[in-house]
């Protein structure tokens, strides 16, 4: 798994490539925590090039969403979620907990 990070004026974009599993999920958690610990809670996660997200990856998404929502100052939104991964999120009952965007431009405009 590779993560790249871009700072925008009102939000931050994380682009993930590869597999998010128990091995790689802690790195994703750390990358996102680096932002929330600096009081940046408008987060965009681009999953367009992700092969799969295991339950360990879902745990990271939920934890970060809880952190963002708890502050009332932002949220993490998901971009370009591949159909298979969306179906996994649906199965886990996660769809109602996140906003989904087809492309980055729309997601950035959301904040």
């Amino acid at each position: 798994m590779e993560i790249s990070h871009l700072d925008y004026k009102h939000c931050e974009v994380f682009t993930v490539v590869g597999r998010v599993d128990s091995f790689s999920a802690p790195r994703l958690a750390q990358a996102l925590a680096d932002s929330t610990s600096q009081n940046r809670f408008n987060l965009i996660l681009d999953l367009g090039k992700v092969d799969y997200v295991s339950s360990a990856g879902l745990r990271v998404l939920i934890d970060v969403q809880k952190t963002c929502k708890y502050t009332g100052r932002g949220e993490i939104v998901l971009v370009g979620v591949p159909k298979r991964i969306f179906e996994t999120l649906e199965l886990a009952g996660f769809v109602s907990l996140f906003k989904f965007f087809d492309d980055l431009t729309t997601a950035v405009a959301h904040f």
Partner: protein, 156 residues
């Protein structure tokens, strides 16, 4: 049962650490490709294997680094069966309640989601343990087993 066991090929042992997930995934993927599974099925199989291995590392071994995961694969024309064996604490899947997927975010826990995925993604899932004495009698190695079968084209 021993006969069933003999159909498994390419047994390989990996250290029971998260870092092994990549290599285990590669071995399973190449077996799936050789058997002409489609990408949709391969995705579901790899995710299930990842969840099962994570459960072994976290629950059977409680992160003890000296643990192992043995991988065996049985292929026929229409299905693949993945065998995972470990020497850690026996696992009773019946003790794991299904996740509550309908609560709001504050109450949402992730426990049990891995097993829930495995049961949803694979066509057959079997857990059992073989004791040392049973192993002597049957010739099957001792340990905890999970057998997961995926058939082609059933749309699950």
């Amino acid at each position: 049962m021993k006969k069933d066991f003999e159909k498994f090929q390419s047994f390989k042992k990996f250290p029971a650490i998260y870092k092994s997930l990549d290599e285990i995934s590669l071995v399973v993927r190449s077996a799936c490709l050789a058997s002409e599974f489609d990408e949709e099925a391969i995705y579901l199989i790899l995710l299930s294997v990842s969840e099962a291995c994570s459960n072994i590392i976290e629950h059977a071994y409680r992160f003890l680094p000296e643990g192992y995961i043995e991988l065996g694969i049985a292929l026929d024309q229409n299905s693949i069966t993945i065998l995972l064996r470990d020497g850690g604490k026996a696992f009773d899947p019946l003790t794991i309640p299904p996740p509550n997927i309908h609560t709001n975010i504050d109450e949402r826990a992730i426990g049990g989601l891995g097993l829930y995925f495995i049961r949803n993604f694979m066509d057959e899932v079997l857990f059992f343990s073989v004791s040392e004495s049973e192993s002597m009698e049957t010739g099957i190695p001792a340990g905890n087993f999970i057998l997961m079968t995926k058939r082609k084209g059933n749309g699950k």
